[in-house]
Symmetry: C2
Subunit: 355 residues, 2 copies
């Protein structure tokens, strides 16, 4: 609990002066004002996050939190729980989508077992298993409050290790069969929306499967009655160990003034929990993409985050964030490397204004 | 004319067998089917374009076509025509957004003067000036039919040179003060929509400027009465030299079975003209992003292309395409490098289907 509390205490706010300086420079670069859209905004936000008016691209890492979900017993997913452990091994072997995309982006992948049901080990795995998956939230709390805090603190700890290795840009990804169900339950609870509004087809269930999933989520909320104003209560009753872990990664990034990429819907649920734990947490987040899971747009809107990529992705693992790494570095290079109107001898728009 | 005709004759259609093989492999990779969305679709389309069921990433180049527009005299842009030449020099010096982003993406930038008003020269410039900018289309044809063909053939020629250098992925970018006006006129004419539906604020004019721009476009269409079914007639009467050049790049790519990225609205107007010249041309195109220019979405919809990035960009130059280079390579690496369910020992969805 102390690690979480001290992390929350260290979270500040954006550096307005650095942002103003970055914006002023963006406006002097040889392009119409605002013409690079989101790319300009990212660089300005990162100036505010880091306090550096011209931040340089640096090392990148995606932290993939893996855990299982007892609620899978209710038939909410197409895949069996064993796939979580199998995919963890796939991550360690370098054969999963997140490996391919992170190699392409020049980012490290850190895989963390925060609660995989089946015992799993392998070179490179960060083993921090708090319990072998959550309990079935449709029948009672997914975990205890202490376990939720422990999962958050695993995320904080791993993120702090990456930051100590001079990682400048973090991302939080997930693996966990059944975790769209937990993400939807968290979203419904914190936003106050009906489960239907924030529940999608996950790995690919059909319409009947979706109905069942929505009713399982409603039941979980009914049985547990999590307090929407208490993020720890929400996380322990209807959350997931990896979702809490991702929230921890985001809080640690905020505390260390490092930008952190939110990946897909599960990662966004972690972001929502992080924002409920500290209102300034979203100031340090960037939304990488908009997935097809309907709850994702709801959360990003709630957090005031604008996704960079819209590519119908719905895989998780951090794959959307891996794609966005390139965009973030691009935005920083634009700010740092482009010529100004003066430097390039290009006429600005004022000279052409009709009078 | 012969170069254009022979290019059009060489354009074939997508290789269905290669696409089927690529799709079959995508479905065996360790992820739910379709979970990588557009990334999967890109790799499958490129398999069809190249005829290779597992195409490897290769060299990349963006061809930036620069030219001026006589219609600027009508006050349709915030910037004076001289900026076109100034920006060409900025491209050659490496200080523009397209330089920064192409370096980041590992792509070459080829700058072509196909009709800049002010004489411009510099190391690396491909000088193929057909005329010093178009004539004012609000008063008469922008250029002659022969000049439009010559501009198309410049695009074809430069693209063929890049292809001869083993460039595997092309992009067509633009520079030309006033060219959103020409792009809107082309779009209105070919789609049959009113100018208002396909006209935006370009480099940043205000509401009154937009009204003026729309009325100038209506006047140009009224004065010239281009034949919507004759792409060359449209290009010469209300087009631009760089737009015709970009259409040429896209046709050459199609003829050589190389994927070509459409950039923003101007590039899309070139794509629309290319599609009017050969109905299979869009089969070889990929849409990089969706700009804020309202005509852009209209054209992509018409061409059946789905943009990868939605980042409120509206700069042109090929900057959206430069961002998309990374995505395209990512899609090819996913197809080539990811482990299959069998290879990774991961259970597929069938085993979990409820019976």
């Amino acid at each position: 609990m102390e690690r979480l509390a001290s992390t929350l205490r260290r979270i500040g706010s954006l550096d307005g002066e650095a942002m103003q300086a970055a914006r002023a420079r963006q406006n002097q670069l040889t392009k119409p004002r605002g013409a690079l859209g989101v790319l300009e905004e990212i660089s300005i936000k990162i100036a505010g996050i880091t306090g550096d008016p011209r931040p340089a691209p640096g090392r990148k890492a995606v932290i993939v939190m893996a855990a299982d979900h007892g609620v899978v017993i209710e038939g909410v997913s197409l895949y069996p729980s064993e796939v979580t452990a199998q995919m963890v091994l796939n991550f360690l072997a370098g054969g999963a989508a997140i490996n391919v995309l992170s190699r392409h982006a020049g980012a490290a992948v850190r895989v963390v077992d925060v609660g995989v049901a089946v015992p799993v080990e392998g070179e490179g795995l960060v083993s921090r298993r708090i319990r072998p998956g959550t309990a079935n939230m449709a029948a009672g709390p997914a975990m205890s409050r202490e376990e939720a805090v422990a999962a958050l603190e695993v995320g904080i700890e791993v993120a702090e290790e990456e930051i100590a290795r001079d990682v400048a840009l973090l991302a939080a990804g997930d693996m966990g069969i059944g975790n769209t169900t937990a993400a939807s339950a968290i979203s419904a609870c914190i936003t106050g929306l009906d489960a239907l509004e924030v529940t999608g087809k996950g790995t690919g269930i059909d319409e009947r499967g979706l109905e069942r999933k929505v009713s399982v989520i409603r039941q979980a909320l009914e049985v547990n009655r999590p307090d929407p104003s208490d993020a720890l209560d929400v996380l322990c009753k209807v959350g997931g160990l990896e979702i809490a872990g991702m929230a921890g990664v985001m809080l640690a990034a905020a505390a260390a003034r490092r930008p952190v990429l939110v990946d897909g819907f599960i990662s966004a649920a972690g972001a929502l929990a992080a924002a409920a734990l500290h209102p300034h947490a979203p100031d340090f987040m960037l939304a990488s993409h908009l997935s097809v899971e309907r709850g994702h747009a709801v959360i990003l809107d709630r957090l005031g985050l604008c996704p960079i990529i819209q590519a119908n992705m719905r895989l998780g693992e951090g794959t959307g964030a891996a794609m966005a790494f390139f965009m973030v570095d691009a935005s920083l290079k634009i700010l740092a490397e482009m010529a100004t109107f003066d430097e390039a001898g290009v006429s600005g728009p004022e000279e052409a204004s009709p009078h």
